[in-house]
C-alpha cells in the first residue's frame, strides 16, 4: 500500500509593531508579567479597540511580496469562546474579508523549486499566556501578550512531506524577517506553526481525515512532529481503523504527538462582524507609500552583492539568504575593502561558531565594525590568518575588538625581515642534523623549519617572509 501525505500549514506571525493591534500598550518581549497591559488589553468593561495602522502596513507588505490580492477594505470579526487567557471572551480576527487573499511562496523541494499556494492571510489579536504548573492548584494568567498583532497565513494543502514543511517555514522566516514584518523568532513565539496532516492512498483525489498539530516552535520539531504523525496515521489506517479528526500537541521530550484534552461540546465560534470597529480602508496613497518603501529582498541583495562587491554567486546567495547575515555584511562592508575575505570569514569560520550555538549573527557579541577591523588587520598583514582565528574566538566570547585583543595579547605579526632572519638563524644553528638532512635531499623537512620558526615566534612570524628567507638561507 503506497500512502501519500497531504500537509497544510497555518503560520502565526507575530508582527514587529511597537504596540498592540488594538491598543497602545507596548509589545516588547520579556517584560515582567502583566506590565504590557492597558485597559483595552485587560478587557475591562467599557473599553473599545482602535486599529494600529502599522500592523496593516506590515500585513500588506507581506501580501505584496507573495503576489497576493490586497483587500483595501477589510473587516474585523469576533470569534467567541471562553479561555482564561482571552480577556474579552472573544478574539478580534478577520473571517469573511481578510486583508490578504491568495499569493505563492517558492520553497526548495527535493528536486528543485516548488511553488506553494497561499489561501489567505489575516490579522488577529494574540491571546495572553497561561502558566499551568508553577502555582499549586492554580493556573496563572499573564496578559502581556494579549492583543499583540498576529498575521495568520494559511497555505493550501500542497505540502507533501516533513522536509517540504520545514523548507516552507524557512522560506516564511526569511520572508518575514526581510520584510521587517516580524523578527521571526520561533523560540520567543514570534513565528508559530500549526500543521494539518492527513494521509490518503496514492492516487486518491479525496483528502483523508486530518489532524492538527498545534504550536510547534522550532524547525527541528516541525520535521519530527510531522514525521511522527505520518507514521502514526499510517499505522492506524493499516490496522483498518479511521483517523480521528482532532487537535494534537507535539511532546518533544517523548518525540510524539498526543491529543489535546477533548472538549465536551465542539466549539461554535459564532463569528459576527465586530461592531466596535468599522471596516478598515487602506487608501491608494497608503498603498503607494508601502510600495515606494518596499525593502530589498534576498534576490535583489544577491544581485547587488555580485555587482557592487564582486562576490561570487555562491557567496552572494549564502549571505543574502539570512537578513541578519546580510545586514551584518553590508554594515561591515562599509569599513573594509576586502569584500571576498569578509565573505569567506562570514560563511566559514563565523558561521561555524554561530551554528554551534544556534544563534544568528545579530544575537552574538560580534559587531560589523569589529569584524571589518579583523579583516583589515589580516589584509594588511598585521596578523596572520591563523592568528586571526584565535583572535576571532576571543572576539566571539567577549565582544572585544581585534585591536584590543592584539594589544592585550601582543599578537602583532612579525614582518620585519631582520627580526625573522635572526630567528631563522637561531633555528638553523640549533638544528644542524635536520639542516644536513634537508640539504641532502629531504625536502619535506622544510615544514619542520617553518614549524620551529613559528614556535619561537608564537606563530606571529609572517608566513610568506619566513618562507622566502628560509629558502634563501637553506640553499
Amino acid at each position: 500500500m503506497t500512502w501519500e501525505t497531504v500537509i497544510g500549514l497555518e503560520t502565526h506571525v507575530q508582527l514587529s509593531t511597537k504596540t498592540k493591534l488594538f491598543s497602545r500598550a507596548s509589545t516588547t518581549f520579556g517584560k515582567s508579567p502583566n506590565t504590557n497591559v492597558n485597559l483595552i488589553d485587560c478587557g475591562l468593561p467599557g473599553v473599545l479597540p482602535s486599529v494600529n495602522k502599522e500592523a496593516f502596513y506590515k500585513a500588506i507588505r507581506f501580501g505584496m511580496a507573495v503576489g497576493a490580492q490586497i483587500n483595501q477594505t477589510s473587516i474585523f470579526d469576533r470569534k467567541n469562546y471562553f479561555y482564561a487567557d482571552l480577556p474579552k471572551g472573544y478574539q478580534i480576527t478577520q473571517m469573511d474579508l481578510p486583508i490578504v487573499l491568495g499569493g505563492t511562496i517558492d520553497i526548495e523541494a527535493g528536486d528543485g523549486i516548488k511553488t506553494v499556494n497561499i489561501t489567505r492571510a489575516h490579522l488577529e489579536e494574540d491571546a495572553g499566556k497561561s502558566i499551568h504548573d508553577e502555582f499549586d492548584g492554580y493556573s496563572a494568567i499573564d496578559l502581556n501578550r494579549a492583543g499583540t498583532p498576529l498575521l495568520e497565513i494559511v497555505s493550501e494543502p500542497e505540502i507533501s512531506n516533513a522536509k517540504e514543511a520545514v523548507a516552507y517555514m524557512k522560506a516564511m522566516h526569511q520572508l518575514v524577517t526581510y520584510l521587517d514584518v516580524s523578527d521571526g523568532n520561533m523560540s520567543e513565539g514570534s513565528l508559530r506553526c500549526d500543521a494539518n496532516v492527513s494521509i490518503r492512498k496514492k492516487g486518491d483525489l479525496e483528502l483523508g481525515t486530518r489532524t492538527e498539530i498545534k504550536n510547534i516552535n522550532s524547525f527541528k520539531f516541525i520535521e519530527k512532529a510531522i514525521n511522527y504523525e505520518i507514521k502514526r496515521q499510517i499505522k492506524v489506517l493499516e490496522n483498518g481503523d479511521t483517523v480521528t479528526q482532532e487537535t494534537r500537541l507535539y511532546d518533544s521530550s517523548k518525540d510524539e504527538t498526543r491529543p489535546m484534552r477533548s472538549k465536551e461540546f465542539a466549539n461554535d465560534y459564532r463569528y459576527f462582524p465586530e461592531p466596535d470597529l468599522l471596516p478598515v480602508v487602506i487608501s491608494d496613497a497608503e498603498m503607494q507609500e508601502i510600495k515606494d518603501n518596499f525593502p530589498e529582498l534576498p534576490k535583489g541583495k544577491e544581485a547587488r552583492y555580485k555587482e557592487d562587491f564582486g562576490l561570487s554567486s555562491y557567496d552572494a546567495q549564502i549571505i543574502a539568504a539570512s537578513k541578519s547575515m546580510a545586514d551584518f555584511f553590508e554594515a561591515s562592508a562599509e569599513n573594509t575593502k576586502n569584500f571576498s575575505l569578509l565573505a569567506n570569514w562570514l560563511i566559514g569560520e563565523i558561521s561555524a561558531f554561530l551554528n554551534k550555538d544556534i544563534i544568528e549573527i545579530h544575537e552574538s557579541k560580534l559587531s560589523p565594525e569589529n569584524i571589518a577591523m579583523l579583516i583589515n588587520r589580516i589584509d594588511d598583514q598585521t596578523i596572520s590568518g591563523k592568528i586571526g582565528k584565535s583572535i576571532f574566538e576571543e572576539m566571539y566570547k567577549s565582544g572585544s575588538s581585534p585591536d584590543e585583543i592584539i594589544k592585550s595579547q601582543g599578537l602583532e605579526q612579525i614582518s620585519d625581515d631582520g627580526a625573522i632572519e635572526e630567528i631563522i638563524n637561531t633555528v638553523i644553528q640549533e638544528n644542524p642534523s635536520q639542516v644536513e638532512a634537508y640539504l641532502g635531499g629531504k625536502d619535506k623537512l622544510f615544514g619542520f623549519f617553518v614549524g620551529q620558526v613559528m614556535k619561537l615566534t608564537q606563530g606571529k612570524a609572517n608566513p610568506q617572509s619566513v618562507n622566502t628567507i628560509l629558502k634563501e638561507k637553506l640553499k
Binding site: 475591562l44 468593561p45 467599557g46 473599553v47 473599545l48 471572551g89 494568567i141 461554535d268 461592531p275
Partner: protein, 472 residues
C-alpha cells in the same frame, strides 16, 4: 435651571444629598459620591473664576458609566464590587464642564429592561406613584430628576432606555445620533445601538448637557468625527412651516383613548404654532421589535462574555475547574433577563441560525434605515407617542411573557436601529400619570428636535409639573 448664582455650589450639593437621603425610598441611587462631591463643590466655590453653565451643577450618573474610584455596578451582582480604574469620556466631559457627580443611579441590569425591575439592587419607584415603575433602563436617573433631587442626569438608550423613563416620569430625555457621544467607558450592552444622553426637566437643559457630552473621541472608533454644533444656537427658531411626519404604520387607534387624546392635543398645539403635519410611510417599521430583539441580544451575548470572574467582578467559591468557575460565576452573577438575552443572542449567532436570525435582522435593519432616509425627504422630523402606555405597577407586565415588556419599546426602538436622534418631552397626564411625546430627527439633526421640543415647552406647562412626593 443652572444659572442662579443665588446659591453656592456647596449649599447646592448639601441640599442635593439631603434630598437624596430624604427620598431614599425611591431607590434611585446605588452608590453615593458624598465625600468627593462635597470636596469638588468647595473647590468650585473657592475658584471664583468665571464659571461655565454646568459649574457646580450636581448630576446623577447612570451606573453604566465607568467612574474612576467610584463603584460601577450596572445594577448587577456580577459587578457589585467593581471599582473602575478609569472614567467614561462622556462623564469626564461633564465633570470638566464643572458638574459634580452626586451618585450612580439604579438601572435595569446591564440596561436590559423597560421598567427598572431587573436590578440586583431592587426596583426604582416612580416618584409620581409609589409601587409603580419609572420606566427603564435609565429608571434611577429619570426618577432622580423627576423627584427634584438633581436637575440633570445621564442615561443610556439602546432601545428607548432614556426616552421611555423620561416619559413615564414626566421629564425630558434625549437620545443623540449614534456616534455623537463617545462610548468609551460606557459598559457595552449592544454596541451598534447604545448611545449616552441627557435627562433633565427641559429641552434647553438637555441642549446644554448635550453640548458638554458630545464630541469626537479617538478612543471610540465609532464616534463621529464632526464638529459639535452649539445646540442652543437655534433652539428658539419658530416652528412655523416645520414639516412633522406622522407614521402611517403606527396605528394609534389601539392605544388607550387618553394616550390618543394627549397625542392629538400635542398635534393641535404644533399646528397652532404653524407646523404642518404630513403622513409618511415607513413600510418596515413594524419589524422593528423583532429586528431589535435579534441584534441586541446577539451583540450583548458577546459583550458580556468578559464577565467571567477571572479579572474582576464576582467569582463563585468552590469551583472545580475553569469551566466550573465560568458557569457558576456567571450564573450566580447575572439576573434572569440578562441570562435570557444572552441565551437568545447565543442562539441567534450560532452555526445554522446566524443567517436566519442575526444576518436577517441586520438586513431588515437596513430596510428600516432606508425607509427613514426616504421619509426625511418630505419632513423635517417625525412625531409619535413615546410609549404605548404609562407607568404600570411593579410586576404587572412581563412576568408571564417577556414580550409584553418588549412591546413597550415599540415607538422608540426604530431610531436606535437607524442611529437617529430622538427626544421625549412631557405632554400631559394619562390617568394621573405622565405621558410623553417623542420627536425623531434626521441624522445629526438634534438641533431640530431640540428646537421643536423647546418651542413646545415655551407654549405649554407640562414640563413644569412636579410629583407631590408625599408617599416618600
Amino acid at each position: 435651571m443652572l444659572d442662579c448664582k443665588s446659591i453656592s455650589s456647596s449649599e447646592l450639593i448639601h441640599e442635593t444629598f439631603r434630598l437624596a437621603k430624604q427620598y431614599q425610598d425611591l431607590n434611585c441611587f446605588v452608590t453615593m459620591n458624598e465625600d468627593r462631591g462635597i470636596k469638588k463643590a468647595h473647590s468650585i466655590d473657592q475658584a471664583d473664576s468665571s464659571h461655565s453653565q454646568l459649574s457646580g451643577i450636581p448630576m446623577a450618573q447612570k451606573d453604566l458609566f465607568c467612574t474612576e474610584g467610584l463603584r460601577t455596578t450596572c445594577s448587577s451582582k456580577i459587578l457589585s464590587n467593581f471599582i473602575p480604574p478609569y472614567t467614561a469620556t462622556a462623564v469626564q466631559k461633564l465633570e470638566e464642564a464643572g458638574s459634580i457627580i452626586v451618585g450612580k443611579t439604579n438601572m435595569d441590569e446591564f440596561a436590559m429592561g423597560s421598567s427598572n425591575e431587573t436590578s440586583y439592587f431592587g426596583n426604582v419607584h416612580n416618584p409620581w406613584r409609589k409601587g409603580y415603575v419609572p420606566g427603564g433602563s435609565s429608571g434611577g436617573s429619570a426618577a432622580a430628576v423627576a423627584a427634584g433631587i438633581v436637575s440633570a442626569a445621564t442615561g443610556t438608550d439602546t432601545g428607548g432606555s432614556i426616552r421611555q423613563p423620561a416619559a413615564h416620569c414626566g421629564i425630558t430625555g434625549l437620545k443623540p445620533t449614534y456616534g455623537r457621544v463617545s462610548r468609551w467607558g460606557m459598559i457595552a450592552f449592544a454596541s451598534s445601538l447604545d448611545q449616552a444622553g441627557p435627562l433633565a426637566r427641559t429641552a434647553e437643559d438637555c441642549a446644554i448637557l448635550l453640548n458638554a457630552m458630545s464630541g469626537h473621541d479617538l478612543k471610540d472608533t465609532t464616534s463621529l468625527d464632526v464638529e459639535t454644533p452649539d445646540f442652543l444656537a437655534s433652539i428658539n427658531q419658530p416652528v412655523k412651516g416645520l414639516k412633522i411626519g406622522i407614521i402611517k404604520e403606527f396605528d394609534l387607534g389601539d392605544l388607550d383613548s387618553e394616550v390618543q387624546a394627549r397625542f392629538e392635543e400635542s398635534k393641535n398645539l404644533y399646528e397652532k404654532l404653524g407646523a404642518e403635519f404630513i403622513e409618511i410611510s415607513l413600510p418596515n417599521i413594524s419589524a422593528s421589535v423583532p429586528t431589535y430583539y435579534s441584534i441586541a441580544p446577539a451583540e450583548c451575548s458577546s459583550n458580556l462574555s468578559r464577565f467571567d470572574g477571572v479579572r474582576f467582578g464576582h467569582r463563585a467559591d468552590n469551583t472545580e475547574d475553569l469551566n466550573d468557575l465560568y458557569i457558576k460565576s456567571r450564573s450566580e452573577g447575572f439576573g434572569e433577563e440578562v441570562k435570557r438575552r444572552i441565551l437568545i443572542g447565543t442562539y441567534a449567532l450560532s452555526a445554522g441560525y446566524y443567517d436566519a436570525y442575526y444576518k436577517k435582522a441586520q438586513q431588515v435593519r437596513r430596510l428600516i434605515k432606508n425607509d427613514f432616509e426616504e421619509a426625511f425627504n418630505s419632513v423635517d422630523l417625525m412625531m409619535t407617542p413615546t410609549s404605548p402606555n404609562t407607568a404600570f405597577a411593579f410586576g404587572s407586565k412581563g412576568a408571564q411573557n417577556p414580550i409584553e415588556l418588549y412591546l413597550e419599546d415599540l415607538f422608540t426602538i426604530s431610531s436606535n436601529l437607524a442611529g437617529l436622534p430622538a427626544i421625549s418631552i412631557p405632554h400631559g397626564m394619562v390617568h394621573s400619570l405622565p405621558s410623553g411625546l417623542q420627536l425623531i430627527g434626521n441624522f445629526l439633526q438634534e438641533d431640530k428636535i431640540l428646537n421643536a421640543a423647546h418651542i413646545f415647552q415655551q407654549n405649554s406647562e407640562f414640563h413644569l409639573a412636579k410629583p407631590s412626593m408625599e408617599d416618600f
